[in-house]
Symmetry: C2
Subunit: 250 residues, 2 copies
């Protein structure tokens, strides 16, 4: 592969979950924002925003939803939001109707805007020698989260991002090999679990080195376990929460 300042950071990406007790400087914050702002936007609709949570009560409330102690602890917490509210207001104030804003198509475009921008924000953070972690866990209870953030209709929280000065040096987590995730022209229909034998061993070794006292699980065992097993989950309020916000109705 071709090595440069950017790609070297990319292939050395670790999620950082422990930060020093220090917030971003104003310049670092602006850099994160500007990187996000210049991200590609679907059909130039610009349907995302970033909520920076500095209020200790809101941070604690999001932490409680995410059930992860590092969320809203040291460092800075951001919520990337799909925002169809702005475009709805523009249309209303120009005397028009909501048009296609309630479709699944337009919601997904907004979600794409927010997610692409988040990756750019994280890339900017890592380029400055800082670290971060993407937080899917904020959606553990989507209805509660919308209530806590007091979000208007036609907006939806997509992902969180916790960033700061790293206070840990985790190992690089082994990913599926390229031949499992890149294909020419055809997606193969003949996946056999035996293809992951070596990878499972690599993952097991990784966990063993990380914490010898913790139960070690191969990749395929994780996939076969509680993460994906059927269970009652407030995460399944997602679709209802989207609909309640006026989004992805058809």
């Amino acid at each position: 592969m071709i090595h440069n300042f950017t790609t070297d950071h990319q292939v050395n990406h670790r999620s950082i979950r422990q930060f020093k007790d220090q917030s971003l400087t104003a310049e670092q914050l602006t850099t994160l924002y500007e990187a996000a702002r210049h991200t590609s936007s679907s059909m130039f609709l610009q349907q995302f925003s970033i909520l920076h949570l500095t209020d200790p009560k809101k941070r604690a409330a999001v932490r409680e939803i995410s059930k992860q102690s590092y969320v809203g602890a040291n460092g800075d917490l951001f919520i990337f939001i799909a925002v169809l509210y702005r475009n709805q207001q523009i249309r209303h104030q120009l005397g028009n109707d909501d048009g296609r804003l309630h479709t699944t198509d337009i919601f997904m475009q907004a979600a794409e805007d927010a997610i692409l921008a988040l990756q750019n924000a994280l890339t900017a953070i890592e380029s400055m020698g800082l670290g971060g972690v993407v937080l899917g866990s904020i959606k553990n209870d989507p209805e509660k989260l919308i209530q806590v953030l007091d979000l208007p209709k036609m907006t939806f929280p997509i992902l969180g991002l916790q960033v700061g000065i790293p206070d840990q040096e985790p190992q690089l987590k082994p990913r599926l090999p390229l031949d499992q995730i890149t294909f020419d022209n055809n997606y193969p229909r003949n996946f056999n679990i035996s293809e992951l034998k070596n990878y499972d061993q690599t993952v097991t070794t990784y966990y063993d080195l990380r914490d010898a006292n913790k139960r070690i699980d191969s990749f395929t065992n994780q996939i076969n376990g509680p993460k994906l097993n059927q269970h009652e989950s407030s995460r399944d309020k997602l679709l209802q929460a989207l609909h309640d916000q006026g989004l992805a109705l058809n």
Copy 2:
């Protein structure tokens, strides 16, 4: 803001839609793949893959769906796919059921994996002095696209990415100002279109410089126009196409 090799590229991002007649080198291709592979993955489920379309017939078929002449023309075309198929197969081959794989929650996690990885791929491309454009247009007809790509159930095409050696130097497209997309703690409910007066003027000037012969539209006029107006669209087959693939069923 803080300037470095990475953030300078980020704030100078332009979508490139015209490429020289040359494909990525093997090394450039690997770099794109490795950047994507090391992207954060929701719950370590690793639910995405990249399809590299080199077959002229497939490229032409995707171009026809996207209705954009540069799609699958010069340069390289990639389709970023949400892949729940792999994890379904792992569970089946270990004697388990599908678990939560058909939920909207788990589909969205897969889509997030694919979208984050795509931004990382584009960032890697731009760091190598190449250019690219994110293709939402591949979903103009989701059912047709799935058919053309011959995708198995439990997979779904999320976004395309066309990359290559730039053969144009477009102006930087003006984005909404930071005070419209970044907020502390509360998302404001009092948006007034008058806040966008200056921005509208900036966008109009941008289009005027880009092509003096083309109709010039401010941002708010675009939002108030055909893009979001109600109309019959094969893009609205999205939800049905997802369901047909076994995804986001509840």
